[in-house]
Amino acid sequence: MNEPIEVHPVDEPPHCSRCESPLEEGDLRCAICGQAAPHADHSHAKHVSVTLLRCTGCGAAITYDPDHQAPACSFCGEVLRVETIDDPMEQTETYLPMTVSIEEARAALKAWLDSLGWFRPSDLSSASTLTEIKPLWWVAWIFDAEALVSWTADSNAGAGRSAWAPHSGQTPLRFDDMLVSGSRGLTDQEAYAITPGMQLGSGTDSVVGGGDQPTLERFDVPRSQARQQVLAAIERTAADRIRAHHIPGTSFRKVRVAIVLRRLITRRYSLPAYVLAYRYRDELYRVVICGQNARFIVGSSPFSYAKLFLLVGGIILVVLFFAVIAAASS
């Protein structure tokens, strides 16, 4: 039978007694391990009793109606309000302040364009024009969790006649402040590139900085789908860590993991960023800058094929030159 749910202080949400993950308002069961949440109605009949549910409008008996998926009065047609299945849209709990000003973002873009290396056009920085700079807050889930990961994989370690040998193991892993992007505006690559510049401890419950009308992105998935996204991200991250640190050998295939999660705590953040668009020779390029540290910047830029051809031609000329000298000396 079910174990009793632990009683926590009033200001703490109830926790699942099995996996110790916090339960949220409206949860019927723990989303991680399936343990039933404590139910408000603990009353059990002490003796046999009979109940007849009556319509509050006309007093007639009510029955459950599958067409309304709710109890309804078959006499006057009134549908009773029932407890709805609680799967609300995700809402931001914490906003990180925008600490990079627009001027600093412009300067960061110029410095970035200057730093892109020899294969970019020489006039990239001087010939580019900034067409748009937009402060925005994008959404993400940050989670902490403990996991026991059972894994199997093929690797080249210990291989015999075949290039692969099987390995297995069981490894405890801890996830701290792991980020899963919930943004539709930023790509995953952009989101993860600027995330290291975020100071997660600086969060507040309202927007700070970003001018008068910053763009605020909202979560557009319900809670159940968000949990699926977070669990999928945990599985991917666990497989990556196992591949990087725990499987012997240097090349791997068929890495499989089974995870028992505990203490999964998920927080919903809005994170500041600047999205910039610049034009170079009639082409538009996009850059994203972390709103808390302008050193974290990611974007697209033109490539100089002329310089590439020049380099390849130069190498061919040098090779030819030495070949001619070698032929002449022999």
């Binding site: 009979v50 549910l53 093929d154 499989r256 028992v260």
Partner: protein, 312 residues
Amino acid sequence: MASAPVTTSPSTEIACQSCGAVLTVDASVRSTTCPYCASPSIIRRPPTPNRPSPTFLVGFVVNHEQATQAVRNWMSKSHAFARSDFKAAVPELTHGIYLPAYLYGAVARANYSASIGENYTETETYTTTDSQGKSVRRTRTVTKTEWRPLSGQFQCYVVDVIVTASGGVSNQALEAIEPFDLRSLRAYSDSFVAGWLAEEPTRSQAECFRFAHDETIAMVERRLKSFMPGDSHRGLQFHANLDNEVIDLVLLPVWSYAVRYAEDQPPVQILVNGQTGRVGGKVPVSTTKIVFAVLSVLALVLIVAILLSVAS
């Protein structure tokens, strides 16, 4: 779990709260309708180990007409060897019922061992005869398998295993109309069963635990098979323990039909998932059709054999 038998307490006598008629209801009935005034009554009894109070419920979504149409379609499209009188029979509604079932979950811990097959290719030389009848040596690439032992530990959560708690519906019959979408699970409330027949558990919890264990072990085996690395595996052996078990009583919406297709045969029970409309039941087969099919195949083989012998 304690293997206490289900109490076979006598029928309960209740007074209809609407017209006052005295009704006798079976001890396994949780919700009923007064035959005189059609008022729904919900009977609440003190919970016992084998008859706990329901924790969850999945509400009906499929109504009577939709369920009947689904059964008709299913019967008419049942397989080729089904009896013709069964396909033409008219389904009779027995009732829409909230079926008691247990929702089981556990942490599975398994020790496993297996031989893992890792493929590799080799070039080998062989001797054959060419088109002129000469003996020649050739090479070919063959794929071979190197078998390596592997053992380890596996741990996972097992959730949402559903097993019947009703003596009237077997676990196989319930499996035939699964799955139920448990995202629509609700906390049990009397208002959801008002006007419908709701059954109390009539199987002991120990028996239901056995069902759940068997299903869970089968599920662990399937997961272990897909967990194995390599190109193939053989000799998978495992020993699994199930810890931190949770079991909650859930009421599931089921339309139950009886189909009487012949005077000398008992009626066939057909169940419809009241949430998804999926139909399940045992289709009676026609021995005449099977015999005819076997004889047709034998006749065909005989004709082909005769033609081949004549041709040769």
